[in-house]
């Protein structure tokens, strides 16, 4: 297994710049997520690491060796795709053995290795079945088996769960993460599903338009987004934005939102003009005594919790509340914000303002 270091990686397709200048490090044994909307450059980044695309410029170090201009075959990396391609005329055992047989492994060792892998994947009982009749889940396991049987330096996975239905995806996500924990293999995983990234990743890179917007551990990214894009991309429902005009100085501990004063984490930077207050749905509560008010538009029942949509003078916000809390559509309610959790953004740059609370995560303040 290996550490992967990416430095100033860039990829152009003709005049289109797919990846601008990425720098990040994937530590040995990490489950690493490349997250972003379609067209953000995440798959291109993955393909460059795997050697399926050559970068326009920049460096890729795998296990200390610079490989950016080497062909895929010399990088010792296994790829798992969204559409698992199995040999339909071969049985499960032969599908998994294939990479070893083609490397000229002796029969006995192949057999041993395949059985070991089958045990890890819990597919020992189907080893001699043809792949044709297998369920989607088993096919996916066989495809994984074929990737891991070679003991590569790292795994590249391109939306391996994208084609599965929601229920099954949840289960396979658990399984993949469990598998990773047993093998401790460095894994780079591409997805557009933020929940998948949060759920499975040790670290996440969030990309947009070929640029890395933020890089870090999932909970930090969720709590302290570096940009408006990240704040909106991560979380479901996403972070609420209350747009207001005002000033923030390096001493500010509160902001004026209309008539109401809202406490915020101690600010470290100055900004003025169009600003945005960012608050996660679970950090707003409905409270009669709160000064800041809004009108209930709708509520969506989710079982344990509900999402209440509220119209305020600074835009619509969504509140996650216990489903036992009764609210009526059209009702005026007071809104309390959990001061320690709030983020402020500069609307023109989209960047978060550095405060006492987020400086540890965003680190450039």
């Amino acid at each position: 297994m290996a550490e992967i270091v990416i430095k100033n990686l860039r990829k152009d397709f003709g005049s289109f710049n797919a990846v601008k200048s990425s720098t990040f490090t994937i530590e040995d044994g990490e489950f690493f997520m490349l997250l972003g909307p379609s067209g953000c450059g995440k798959t291109t980044t993955l393909r460059m690491i795997a050697g399926l695309e050559l970068p326009t410029s920049g460096e890729i170090h795998i296990d200390g060796e610079e490989v950016s201009q080497k062909p895929a075959s010399q990088r010792d990396i296994a790829m798992v795709f969204q559409m698992f391609a199995l040999y339909p005329h071969l049985n499960v055992r032969k599908n998994i053995s294939y990479p070893l047989v083609s490397q000229g492994w002796p029969r006995q060792r192949v057999k041993q290795k395949v059985e070991e892998i089958a045990q890890i994947l819990d597919i020992t009982d189907i080893l001699d079945r043809p792949v044709g009749g297998l369920s989607g889940g088993d096919r996916q396991r066989v495809a994984l088996g074929r990737a891991i049987v070679r003991d590569p330096k790292a795994f590249m996975m391109d939306e391996p769960l994208g084609a599965l239905d929601a229920e099954f995806r949840e289960r396979m996500a658990e399984e993949l993460r469990g598998l990773h924990d047993r093998m401790n293999a460095t894994t780079v995983y591409v997805t557009h599903d933020q929940l998948e990234a949060m759920q499975m990743g040790d670290k996440i890179v969030v990309m947009n338009h070929g640029v890395i917007e933020q890089f870090g551990v999932p909970q930090d990214i969720y709590d302290w987004p570096a940009t408006l894009f990240v704040a909106e991309f991560i979380g479901s429902p996403p972070m609420n934005f209350l747009r207001f005009g005002g000033d923030v100085t390096p001493k500010s501990k509160s902001i004026k939102l209309g008539e109401a004063t809202v406490k915020v984490p101690h600010q470290h930077a100055a900004a003025s003009g169009d600003l945005v207050l960012g608050v996660r749905p679970e950090h707003v509560s409905i409270s009669d005594k709160a000064k800041y008010r809004g009108q209930v538009l709708a509520s969506e029942y989710l079982g344990t919790t509900q999402i209440i949509t509220i119209e305020t003078q600074h835009g619509e916000i969504k509140v996650r509340a216990p489903s036992a809390q009764a609210v009526r559509d059209g009702e005026q309610v007071g809104l309390e914000f959990d001061a320690r959790t709030l983020s402020l953004f500069d609307a023109s740059t989209g960047q978060a303002l550095i405060s006492e609370a987020n400086k540890g995560v965003l680190g450039h303040g």
Binding site: D165, A166, G235, S236, L302, T304
Partner: protein, 331 residues
């Protein structure tokens, strides 16, 4: 808009019983979601109502009129499929106008124009009307195909997982949008999905399907809080309801064989020792994977919990759901 009634409807495909003497009532103006896993009979139910399949027994009526012998066109239903099928060479406007120009409807052109504009506004796409269908994003294409159903003002809308091919963000947006469209036009909607979030957030009524039968019908809250069986209890709720043998907890009624625990049924702080297997941070919630005397369970905890793998916490059930040996709920 109209109501739909299925009475004792049965449909077989060869030896497979797809729909088994199903009774279903879709009230006027309701948004009914049929929820069930692959193969439960959801899509077949829609196709039977649309007239794309013929029942082997039973009666289907729309607005009190038996439609068993009517063709799909006579039934006045509109269907939206999972895969949007637009005419790629036509503009959005022509795609939306197409159903109205059919020889059966023969709508006057000025009427078509008005109707298309109206629907485009409901769908928030009036500025895209003159784009070619192929110039739209996935979400816009799916909105146009929903729009193609809307222009016709049918008695009932039938939707077969219309959001499942879209990515997570778009799905969330269109969920809100569909709910809004439903309340704005006051249509009767029958919607099929295996996605429980869609069922919970959009439906006025949820019908849970199992092996070709409706096993429970009610409001989302009803189904979540008062499931009639283990099967139904497992269809709604994330993380999924935990099921443990009743013998683990003394003092329960004799008939109780299985205890169902949703996160809100697990009190943390006193009770029995459970070991933390894993802490899963999902941002807005943190899941605890626990082991209670050899049984695995998942619950929610404080987002910024300091608990880690290997820690021990005390838990006890609080108003759990109880089930008998057959999986039926004990009241």
């Amino acid at each position: 808009m109209a109501e739909v009634q299925l009475t004792g409807v049965t449909k077989k495909f060869g030896k497979t019983l797809a729909i088994n003497a199903m009774d279903l009532h879709v009230p006027h103006g309701a948004f009914v979601v049929l929820l069930g896993p692959t193969g439960a009979g959801k899509t077949t139910t829609l196709r039977l109502i649309a007239g794309l399949e013929e029942p082997d027994a039973g009666d289907i009526s729309i607005d009190g009129r038996s439609v068993n012998r009517e063709t799909p066109a006579q039934r006045d239903v509109a269907m939206v499929f999972q895969q949007y099928s637009l005419y790629p060479h036509m503009s959005v406007r022509d795609n939306l106008s197409f159903p109205l120009r059919s020889p059966i409807l023969k709508t006057p052109e000025d009427e078509i124009k008005r109707k298309v504009q109206e629907v485009a506004e409901v769908l928030h796409i009036p500025h895209k009307l003159d784009n070619k269908a192929t110039e739209l994003s996935g979400g816009e294409m799916q909105r146009v195909s929903i729009g193609r159903a809307l222009v016709r003002d049918p008695a009932i809308y039938l939707m077969d997982e219309p959001l499942s091919s879209l990515d997570a963000k778009l799905r969330a947006d269109l969920r809100v949008e569909l709910k809004r469209i439903h309340s704005e036009i006051g249509a009767t909607l029958l919607y099929v999905t295996h996605d429980q979030i869609e069922a919970m957030t959009m439906a006025t009524h949820v019908g849970v399907l199992d092996e070709g039968q409706i096993v429970q019908f009610g409001t989302p809250r009803d189904i979540y809080e008062n499931p009639v069986s283990l099967y139904v209890a497992g269809r709604l709720g994330l993380p999924r309801i935990n099921t443990l043998p009743a013998s683990l907890f003394p003092g329960l009624p004799n008939e109780a064989v299985t205890v169902g625990l949703r996160p809100e049924h697990i009190h943390q702080g006193d009770g029995r020792d459970a070991t933390v297997n894993r802490v899963e941070h999902l941002g807005d919630q943190t899941r605890l994977h626990l082991n209670l005397e050899g049984h695995e369970l998942i619950t929610l905890t404080d987002v910024h919990t300091t608990l880690t793998e290997g820690d021990t916490i005390k838990i006890k059930p609080e108003n759990p759901l109880l089930f008998d040996g057959s999986g039926a709920r004990l009241a």
